[in-house]
Symmetry: C2
């Protein structure tokens, strides 16, 4: 790994490089992105790039980390509500609304990087896997809270339901991306919600 | 589009080129694959390549088509059984067994191409979307047959359940790929099966 910045100015330079790299990767793909283009976009010299990052793979790992933060960070407020049924529904509605805005374009940024780099760079695969783990943990925490509050029955397996819900979300995003249509995501998340609803203690589903 | 072969010999040459291209794409990624490498692997000259394919994008579209055929063709026998409950379970077991063999490596070849090319080439995206459509149609046909036979209740929405099941499968494959572990796929498909089971007319689930 390259040098970690010790000054505020250094931290900002490193962040600027990672942000520029993320933009170039989004446009050209991870394999098509060049360090020259990243440097140009970040207004950073070659020596600055190599000060903070060993090589392209090291920079792409930083992009994967910042992608995790961006994707999960954008859901922070929604994650906080996952411990109640209305909060769970609100989270799925927000995910579908985002795909409606985008016309299904783009898919999940974490999954996109996985598709490009997962079989090529094991360290980056591990970073992205960690992003999914954190995502699943947030869902699981919400389901566990609903079991604790009695909103879900005690036999609801939060581990299984969280894994299954994240899979529905990821698969729904792929199908939405393929079809340029948010409907597959809505159907996938309706499936996840309906499954969880079979464990509700109230009859409203 | 390049020239379609009119002779058996021409058809075989074209197929050999597409097969070689699929291998190079699997190794180097769609963006990293070069026509020179494809030609070398297929023992085909540059002029043969350009006889059958206009350009790299045209060749990649043929790779996408052959990927659809390979992925769906491998499930043909299993699709045929989807009209009964044991057949549905057998299909999911086979999908999980394949990932157990592979240790989760590789993910879904259609989704991988989508992740690499979906935002770069709209014609290839449409080919891959068609692959998903056919996959979903096979699942839907099975569910519709189960409704017709009375194995599922008449209020089972086969369109929704097929879309939701394919999403579970795709998302489970991504998470299995990220974690190098077939468990997320098993959990995702168990979720899909459990949801469909809520529509069974018998009590065995």
């Amino acid at each position: 790994m390259g040098v970690q910045p010790t000054t505020e100015r250094g931290r900002r330079t490193r962040e600027r490089i990672v942000a520029a790299a993320a933009e170039v990767v989004a446009q050209k793909g991870a394999l098509g992105a060049s360090l020259d283009e990243v440097g140009e976009r970040a207004a950073a010299s070659r020596s600055q790039l190599y000060h903070y990052f060993d090589d392209k793979s090291d920079l792409l790992r930083a992009v994967a980390e910042s992608t995790n933060e961006a994707v999960l960070g954008a859901q922070d407020d929604l994650f906080a509500g996952l411990g109640t049924w209305p909060g769970l529904v609100r989270w799925t509605d927000a995910l579908v609304a985002l795909q409606e805005e985008r016309g299904g374009v783009g898919g999940c940024p974490i999954a996109n990087l996985l598709g490009q780099l997962g079989e090529r760079d094991d360290e980056i695969r591990a970073v992205l896997s960690d992003g999914f783990d954190r995502w699943e943990a947030s869902i699981r925490a919400g389901l566990t809270a609903m079991v604790a509050s009695g909103e879900l029955r005690a036999d609801a397996d939060a581990d299984w339901l969280a894994a299954s819900t994240l899979a529905s979300l990821q698969g729904g995003l792929i199908l939405a991306q393929a079809r340029r249509d948010p409907l597959p995501l809505r159907r996938a998340l309706d499936g996840a919600i309906r499954l969880i609803a079979t464990y509700r203690t109230t009859t409203k589903a």
